[in-house]
Amino acid sequence: MVDLAFLLVTFFMLTTKFAAEEVVVVDTPSSTSEIQLPESNVIRLLIDKDKHVFFGFESDKAKPLLLDKIGAKYGVSFTEKQKKAFGNVSTFGVPVQQLGALLDMTTEQRKKVNQGGIPIDSLNNQIIDWVMEARKANLEAISKPTFIAIKGDGDADVATVKKVIQILQDKNINRFNLITDLENKPVVSR
């Protein structure tokens, strides 16, 4: 029995992936929905209470490709070291122009930086490029479609959330997953 216990411990230790630390604290509201977020191929859009939007995407194969594509689009080049660092950054919120500097930092330094969000204005809309390129990169790398998950803070204002949804709808993305905490479903009498 003890052998088995150790076997299981080892198994769970190796398979557990700790939730990656996020750049901002996002306190999600709760809902009764019991659908679970798929494990992979998820593009996360974090919206914090200060109306900032952050981008998160995790994939070993598609991420370097994504950085290349974005770099080409904005005329920014990244070094090999920066590309490697990008693989470890689960979420970030800086304009592309500042991304290089962010990637040069150590993990500790990065935590201290106050990231101001990715621009979503109509003049400088970088978030849509990140989403579209991530979709393309994922398709190219592992040929799987991606899901869009919106993780908004309970205090985030609807205007920002609506704007993000609008931006994605303009590109014909109409399915969203709103990340929420679970709460018990009340019994409804009819």
Binding site: V2, P29, S31, S33, L37, V158, D170, N174, R175, F176
Partner: protein, 174 residues
Amino acid sequence: MAEIQQNSGGGGKGGKKRAKKMSTRIDMTPMVDLAFLLLTFFILTASFNKPNVMQLTMPVKEKDNKDPTEIKSSDAFTIVMSENDKLYYYEGLLAEDVKPELKVSDYSADGIRKVLLARQRQNPKTVVLIKPDDKSNYKNMVDILDEMNITNQSKYALVDVSKADLEFIKNSGL
């Protein structure tokens, strides 16, 4: 857990000092305790870190959308979400000459949920128009979408709040 060490018998007087015979078995209890503790921890974290999601499907936007879907005024039920966790609702559609009765409610179980259920009993074809005001927060939006799930309201839409709605609320003095 600690075992009582048996006093080696016959130690007493005289006799050569003999090396104590150590048992070859070691007490594994603490280690096993730890193993199970870790096991429980990993099992729990493995299944709990998956977040829950609420699916939201927006209608496909058509480029030349001249006349969006019209709904009958008798089927319509409008909810306007306002600041401070307040919401307004009225039955029917707002028009120049028709001013429906505006009521105030909140997101609690006795609030909008009861109203929605009553409305559904009255008219099962109800279409709920959810109009989030810019002053409401995201939690309100999730709450109201959740109410739709709870009450099994199948037809609902997120619509932008119109100027007429805001005027209407302002003039009502609620």
